[in-house]
Amino acid sequence: MWYREAGQFVTNYYQDRRIFPLRFDRWFVAIGLILLVALPTLYGSEYWLSAHMIPLCAVGLATLGLNLLTGYTGQLSLGTAGFMCIGAFGTFNLILRLPDWLINWPTAMLISGIFAGLVGIVFGLPAIRIRGFYLLVSTLCAQYFVWWFFNQYKYFLDYTPSGVVALPEKYYDYFGLSELMGWDMQSYNNRWFIAILFVIGLTYFAKNLIRSSTGRNFMAVRDMDIAASTIGISVPKTKLLAFFVSCYYCGIAGALYSFAYIGNVDLMIYEVDRSFTIMFMMIIGGLGSITGSFLGAIFVYEFPIAFTVLGDYVFAGAGGHAGGGFDSAAVENVSNMAYGIFIIALLIREPGGFGALWGNYKQKLRTWPFPH
């Protein structure tokens, strides 16, 4: 009953536009964000950070990026991993080649995102002419081309013979300071700190875009682009902007994936099945939903892990994992079957995915205990 909007009035349009209209939400989110940044940075265990929280930042951000392009602007894309790849390689090369006093890891990420965004614009140009499913050809071309490019021109991997760069500690330094006041830069705690700040900042930016005229232009182009052009919306410019912003986000997500999560720059991470995975996350999370993007990412990422844990638990009597839990191939296959069934069931029940379900749930909560 305390979660309601009765008694909270908006008196001007600024207030009407707030991201969190309910006072409870505003407090909850504010405190929650502070805790989210502070607690894991200070106390987080290496396992939880490295195996769950940090990768979720990366894939969640990638899903958000894809959602901006496909969910909000209606441009289909299967090139997500390719753009992530550009972000990762860009960050690596910037840190590698620029002097220490000029560049550090977060700054390099911010800049490499621009590279990804620009490549996104190039492969977004066909979207001016090509519509619907046919557009997949452009982003798939981007995906395969980017992969081939970095595989072909070993310069970008610094000619590492194994083809995989294990990022050394100094890459995480700020301006050559290897330990800032005793704080280990390469620790997962620091990586989390950077990662979550990026996620929070970029999500805020995305939310602002969506609730302003740019966001409305995106959605107008998605819903009916002929009508949009009669209002004076430049459909080509809007599409290209969507590609730029989306690929920027994917670029940063890719850099986070390599730097914050895996610790390697490896081309194998960014193959086409990664693009599919992000797309699943977006579908399950719901097209056109920012919250949904993260919810979908969490579900798709955690499901195999949860399933393995379940297997271990169920078969614990037979000796735990080694003794007879589900083996990794079975896990992957059953996961795939589960995703497939899940996507279909979800689409039948609620095409808006988790995002819509979450919205419905909050709506019910606002009027609880009354049904409507």
Binding site: N12, Y13, Y14, D16, R17, Y204, F205, A206, N208, L209, S212, S213, T214, R216, N217, M219, A220, R222, D223, M224, I226, A227, A228, S229, T230, I231, G232, I233, S234, L241, V245, G288
Partner: protein
């Protein structure tokens, strides 16, 4: 006599071998309500589409507000101040009413996406200003109650009203309405007619509308243009047109008031 705001000069439009519009010319005076009537397939919607640049005519040109355009495109038309509604409602299904109407303010938005993303004060201020303008239109068209409703879930009549609101939000010089009252009952038609007339008078808004209901046409229009099979067969005041023998033969059958 004042220079007409819209001059259609010898427009011809074909699709493949089909001539949709054949050498049509007419003028629309500044501030008047001009009805374009005619049987189905006469080329009325196509005419409107040519005016605001969705179709490109093979021959002829359009003079709007003093400027002659050899080739009209949607962006040129929008910038020149032409707004329109569509026969098969072209609302954005994924947004609610306020958002739909706000899109109409697009041409007057100056802050760029960066400023909006960062939620800078300039962006916030502009958003509030546009919202204020949109709210005026919302109260003018009496759709306050459905502000936050998703456009897709509105009944047909209200959708048409929201589309009109979106067109008005652009503060246009000329309004093109494609069958704004199709599918409405008597009461809804009366409301819509009121809104159109009020907008016309309040904002000195030249209005060109396609309409099938002759009663409505007689009541609200200053000027009527009759099309049939892509050709113009009548052009004048409502009374003149109703008494025009060609028009009676082609369209009206027995004349009635």
């Amino acid at each position: 006599m004042a220079e007409p705001i819209l001059q259609i000069n010898n427009i011809s439009l074909s699709f493949g071998g089909v001539k949709a519009i054949e050498n049509i010319s007419f003028n629309v005076a500044d501030g008047e309500v001009c009805a374009v009537v005619g049987p189905n397939g006469a080329g009325k919607s196509s005419m409107l589409n040519v005016i605001n640049g969705i179709y490109t005519a093979q021959e002829g040109n359009i003079t709007f507000d003093g400027t002659t355009h050899a080739k009209m495109t949607t962006s040129v038309a929008a910038k020149a101040g032409i707004a329109r509604t569509f026969q098969n409602i072209a609302l954005f299904k994924g947004m609610n009413v306020v958002e739909n109407i706000m899109t109409g303010r697009n041409m007057m938005t100056k802050t760029n996406w960066m400023a909006q993303g960062l939620n800078l004060p300039s962006a916030k201020r502009e958003e509030a200003e546009h919202r204020e303008a949109v709210e005026k239109i919302i109260s003018f068209l009496q759709i306050e109650a459905i502000r936050k409703t998703q456009a897709a879930s509105l009944p047909y009549g209200l959708q048409k009203r929201v589309e009109l609101a979106r067109a008005l939000a652009a503060e246009p010089r000329m309004l093109l309405l494609d069958e704004p009252m199709a599918g409405m009952n008597l009461e809804e038609k009366q409301d819509m007619s009121c809104f159109i007339l009020e907008a016309n008078r309040e904002y000195a808004l030249t209005t060109v509308l396609i309409e099938h209901d002759i009663g409505v046409v007689m009541d609200i229009s200053d000027h009527v243009v009759v099309l049939d099979y892509g050709k113009k067969i009548g052009d004048g005041t409502p009374d003149e047109v109703v008494n025009n023998q060609d028009v009676i033969n082609a369209y009206l059958g027995v004349s009635h008031d």
